[in-house]
């Protein structure tokens, strides 16, 4: 496979060879029109054994089709001294002298052009067929545009030469960091924007221009997010003024309008909801089930929460799975008791920690969240097994983990009597393993495996902290700031327009209101 090309093509490159080659591609390799397809279907069979499989090739010097696997094309090449053949499946050119596929620049160029043309034709031609259910993944009109790797055109090379300044992302560069002006108690919005612009998958989605807007009006929040990302990664160091974003938020989430301080968590959910709704419009296909759309928001943030209600009499279990974007965790110090974690007060030792003394941890909160809970005699449910109302226990576990998990520590209590902020310190880790809280782990616990040894090779449930939103002050007057992580271990504090470097200790010692964790390993489904 010499990169210098094959000298044997020169014998072929005579007279009208380019046009002849184009014809071969159009008729027998990438047949775009209905008539070329018909001709291909009829004539592309091995002239020696009649098969349409086995890597059919066409001789480049005469009209002869033969298969490669049974060496029929080789026989032809030898006997007629026709040294070049073309693979009818992939369009590669085979040289029998070099005994390999060769890559001639001019021929490659022709191949590329013909392939693109055929694809485009396929797109319009299919409207005439009786094929009425196109695959949902593909362009509804046909196959769509063929993916080809980007190569700069002459004009683009010129542009690159005339603009020699390059932005190089080094390990300590701070691109992506930008302050946000407070437009009047808008720190509740700013802190969430900081967290979102530093969510790697979301950043990649917007920076690679994946949003194709189909909204007629100018009020698409996804477009505005796209703009925001451009602003953040522009390299400008002056703080950005997010007035357009604020206006769109007021338009789409009326309950957040006004100049009063709002709840950052409420803003997060409202923002995700609007983005999700606006994203659905540009998926080409409409989601049949609003809970299972494939927009970028769902791909990143949506997890599945399993709720098992067990009848205390017949032990039948009724299971539902609901989608979630965040997990709201009760804290000690609220009016609902935190300890003991489960009825009977079992002491569970997980990851080497016990809960009797010391600060409350995020793990404690998650354990409480996933504990079995007696629903009490005043809340009997109708059991389909017993056909009557019975007492039951309910338990929540994680069925499907989202790529980005957001934990909301319920610090703001709004009960009938009290309105207050719970300032109990909750310690949270840099790395989190969600395995003990999975529905699958619960099942193995129920099957008698009490000791949950964390499997070091199972990476599915491991998360890393990448953003922390904090609230300082009281319920009436407070201020939100965000810690965000850049590169592997550099943290910054975003306080509206002011960005300062922070240490890991600063982050972990902070009170914590919204905790954003990102899956460490992304696997194929």
């Amino acid at each position: 496979m010499s990169p210098a090309g094959c000298p044997h093509v020169n014998g072929f490159k005579v007279d009208n060879w380019k046009q002849n080659l184009r014809l071969i591609y159009q008729c027998f390799v990438w047949s775009g029109s209905a008539e070329t397809r018909k001709r291909k279907a009829k004539s592309c069979i091995c002239h020696m054994c009649g098969t349409h499989l086995n890597r059919l090739h066409s001789c480049l010097y005469c009209v002869f089709f033969a298969c490669f696997a049974k060496k029929h094309i080789h026989e032809h090449a030898k006997s007629k001294r026709h040294n070049l053949a073309i693979d009818l499946l992939y369009g590669g050119i085979y040289c029998f002298m070099c005994q390999d596929y060769i890559y001639d620049k001019e021929m490659e160029q022709i191949a590329k052009e013909e392939q693109r043309k055929a694809w485009k034709m396929q797109g319009t031609a299919t409207q005439n067929t009786t094929h009425d259910k196109p695959p949902s993944e593909l362009n509804p009109n046909g196959i769509g545009e063929k993916y080809s790797t980007w190569e700069p055109t002459k004009k683009e090379l010129e542009l690159l030469r005339h603009n020699p300044k390059r932005r190089r992302i080094t390990s300590n560069c701070t691109i992506g960091l930008r302050g946000l002006i407070n437009l009047g108690n808008t720190c509740f919005m700013n802190c969430i924007v900081q967290a979102l612009t530093h969510t790697p998958l979301l950043r990649d989605f917007f920076l690679s221009d994946r949003h194709k807007c189909e909204m007629q009006s100018n009020s698409c929040l996804v477009c505005e997010m796209s703009q925001l990302f451009q602003e953040f990664y522009s390299g400008h160091r002056s703080p950005h003024v997010p007035f357009r974003l604020l206006h769109l938020v007021w338009t789409h989430a009326r309950h957040l309008a006004g100049y009063e301080q709002q709840d950052a968590h409420e803003f997060l959910i409202a923002a995700l909801d609007v983005l999700h709704r606006h994203c659905k419009d540009d998926n080409g296909k409409k989601a049949n089930n609003p809970n299972h759309c494939n927009c970028i928001i769902d791909q990143i943030f949506t997890g599945g929460l399993q709720s098992d209600v067990t009848c205390q009499v017949c032990h039948g279990v009724s299971t539902t799975i609901d989608p979630f974007w965040d997990i709201s965790l009760d804290l000690p110090g609220s009016s609902t008791p935190f300890w003991p974690l489960s009825p009977g007060g079992e002491v569970s030792v997980l990851n080497g920690e016990s809960h009797s003394t010391g600060a409350t941890t995020l793990m404690d909160c998650l354990r409480r969240f996933t504990r079995p809970e007696h629903l009490g005699s005043s809340a009997k449910i109708k059991c389909s097994g017993c056909h009557s109302y019975q007492e039951s226990t309910k338990q929540l576990t994680m069925k499907k983990l989202p790529i980005v998990a957001c934990f909301h520590l319920k610090r703001f209590e709004h009960s009938a009597k009290l309105r207050r902020k719970i300032t109990t310190y909750v310690s949270f880790p840099l790395e989190l393993d969600m395995t003990p809280f999975m529905a699958s782990s619960k099942e193995s616990r129920m099957n008698g495996q009490y000791q949950q040894t964390v499997d070091p090779f199972n990476n599915d449930n491991k998360y890393s902290l990448f953003a922390v939103v904090n609230h300082q002050g009281t319920l009436e007057s407070g201020h939100y700031t965000t810690f965000i992580r850049q590169h592997k271990d550099q943290w910054f504090k975003c306080d509206d327009a002011i960005i300062t470097k922070a240490s890991i200790k600063d982050v972990l010692d902070s009170e914590g209101y919204l905790l954003f964790y990102h899956k460490q390993f992304l696997e194929y489904e």
């Binding site: 291909k40 592309c44 590669g92 695959p135």
Partner: protein
Amino acid sequence: MNKEARLKATINQKLTETGERERLKELLRAKLTECGWKDQMKAQCKEVIKEKGLEHVTVEDLVVEITPKGRALVPDSVKKELLQRIRAFLTQHAS
């Protein structure tokens, strides 16, 4: 050509004529990329190239080594889906 081979040829003709063959190929391509098969194959190819040496390896070497592995590694779910599509096509165009 025996009856089965003739049937196969007819089906292939129909698939090619209507352009369904190309559509199915693209669907297959997308599915195999999504499930990581393409990356697995890429890795296998790199292995073969390392073994044979970049200067001497031919496309044929790769085809011979990779084809059986590739065939074995296609997930059942992908096979099922493609079969379903082909079946649907055939029922639509039964003549």
